[in-house]
Symmetry: C2
Subunit: 370 residues, 2 copies
């Protein structure tokens, strides 16, 4: 019997996530499994929580990792905070804003959207105007739009939402660990992320945090959360409190991986990590422009960890990706939705954001598209 | 900075899951991460699906692993098959039947339950009688009640449900990989499991299968599935079809682990694995009885992989568990719900089900409670 795992090659992951995983994280994943109620495992959970609070710049006690991937973090944010009929405003300038609107609609919320051209950022003034016309209970925005490479002005929108009095949900799946995220300063009520982007841990968990105001909403819901698996009323008793109450079996080894990722982040130092992302991004853009390629997003709104490159006319974008993968063992991403076929998405996330990786990609690209 | 992962000890996991993980599975978890749309990763997914079909004894094309733990499999089964107002019958004889009723109720179903004493099995005749009085769209039962150690007569109930015309949901979280599970022969429409029980992979995924009849129901729903993350209409396009459509980023390395677990299962051979579970169970029961301990469940309804032992009077059950964990590095489980403080739950799941492990536990117990 042939074992396919024996044929897995090391691929340089420069797509929109997953990113490259450091050896220390692989080793962490392979540590002996402990029970989900084991006293030593609970110490690891507590320390993970504390590192997540530090990373997210929040004092929120309800800070933890959801036992599923980043999209489940989005689901958890909405399913806990939104009840049928609740007026919700979603800012949309890419796939992930669109997904938020889909989730909120499925939950029976009264969903309004405010849309911006893909590749451009959300404009706070427009959000303010929208809020002046209707009372919303929740406003949501994506910090780093992975589908376009745009950074949205989360801090500025936070001030507006706070004044309005709504709960503020922010998607930080791609931003967390690569650029500053300041939950408390930015007045965010729920922020969630994923492990497979700038944290450089394989996919499988969604770090998330809830403010006191968000918890109050959850505890005073008219109806039970219509999702047992993601009901924070129960999950908070497993992740906190004096006596831990069993809810579901946590993904133990994935949590080891997240712990190690966070450990490496703080070992390297927050500022150094952010600087590394910025510098490799600048090196990549410079190199791409030398090859005659153009970026989709204006410089002032670009994310360092997700670079959208316009595919030149007459180039078969899928063939370039396929050659990169098969000949050079490098993965880059395709465009999504209206940008499918029009852009490549080059990730510089976490462990991937290294100058030698940028050089390897630029060398390969210059051979392919010369 | 101290790294807590350095202090993780190897614990013999003889609780209700997670179970002991073979070295080959740890190694699989630490294989290089590939992209979730990578052609080679899709080969691994396809082979995983094929092994799951073989393990579950089904031809269902929609057979895959949900990107979250076993409880999310339960959530996925109900949230896809049930719409508000649908009449649903849940058989309850433990915690996990109760959880099913909770989930179905949150989804707005018209939930009836048929209850049996914890520690005793569901009686098919009673289910038949219940079905003769009301038309149900879904009937659900737990195969292996992890909270009590009882095996329910899934095959017999399947015949009755089929005659009635309802969809049949079966929880095989603890049974799959330890005793026979025959999805097609037993007329099951949705069956889900977990990786951390008899498959001996760490927790994090939920293998699941849907019959053609179940898919028809999902495709003809009046409303969208009120759970984006678990909506099978979208997930089936990622796990099948000619062109894979991105839904969410799958937990790549966890899927390597599941692949390896299934590989080991078929390498050892189905019959040998089931025999090993049965023989270690018999050895355990014999040893426990020699120590003067009594089993909760009658012999004919006992699960080999989950053994409920009545805690003798005058024994502090929590102290015994704590001594086992701290002095002997063995984990066993406590009772849940009405059985809390009254039973221990000893797991013999997958890799844990070995005679040397049984001996180690019996020796430790005899020292502690002598």
């Amino acid at each position: 019997m042939k074992n396919l795992l024996d044929g897995i090659e090391e691929v340089l992951l420069m797509g929109p996530g997953p990113s490259c995983v450091p050896d220390e994280v692989y080793k962490a994943l392979a540590k002996p499994t402990l029970g989900h109620m084991d006293y030593y495992f609970i110490e690891i959970m507590d320390e993970t929580k504390s590192m997540l609070q530090d990373l997210m710049q929040t004092k929120n006690p309800l800070t933890l990792a959801i036992s599923a991937t980043g999209s489940a973090g989005m689901e958890a944010a909405f399913v806990n905070l939104v009840e049928p009929g609740d007026p919700v405003l979603i800012c949309i300038n890419g796939v992930f804003g669109t997904r938020m609107a889909d989730i909120a609609t499925r939950l029976g919320a009264d969903v309004d959207t405010i849309e911006f051209k893909w590749g451009t950022p959300v404009i706070p003034g427009n959000v303010k105007e929208k809020l002046s016309k209707k009372k919303y209970s929740v406003v949501a925005v994506v910090h780093a739009e992975t589908s376009t490479g745009v950074k949205n002005p989360v801090r500025e929108i936070g001030d507006i939402v706070k004044e309005h009095g709504a709960l503020y949900i922010v998607d930080a799946v791609t931003s967390l660990g690569g650029i500053p995220v300041e939950v408390d300063n930015w007045k965010i009520d729920v922020l969630y992320s994923g492990t497979q982007k700038c944290l450089s841990c394989p996919p499988g968990l969604s770090p998330i945090t809830f403010s006191g105001k968000a918890i109050k909403k959850i505890q005073n819901r008219k109806n039970k959360v219509p999702n047992w698996y993601l009901d924070m009323n129960m999950i908070m008793q497993y992740w906190g409190g004096k006596k831990r109450v069993y809810h579901h079996t946590a993904p133990i080894n994935m949590l080891y991986g997240l712990y190690q990722s966070l450990f490496l982040f703080f070992q390297e130092g927050r500022d150094t990590v952010y600087k590394r992302h910025q510098e490799t991004h600048e090196m990549l853009v410079e190199g791409l422009e030398k090859l005659g390629l153009k970026m989709l997003v204006e410089p002032s709104h670009r994310l360092p960890m997700l670079n959208s490159v316009i595919v030149p006319e007459k180039i078969d974008e899928a063939e370039v990706r396929s050659t990169l993968r098969k000949k050079y063992k490098i993965e880059i991403g395709a465009g999504l939705g209206p940008l499918a076929g029009k852009i490549w998405r080059i990730g510089l996330m976490g462990h991937t954001a290294r100058k030698n990786n940028v050089k390897r990609l630029l060398d390969a690209l210059s051979e392919i598209i010369k």
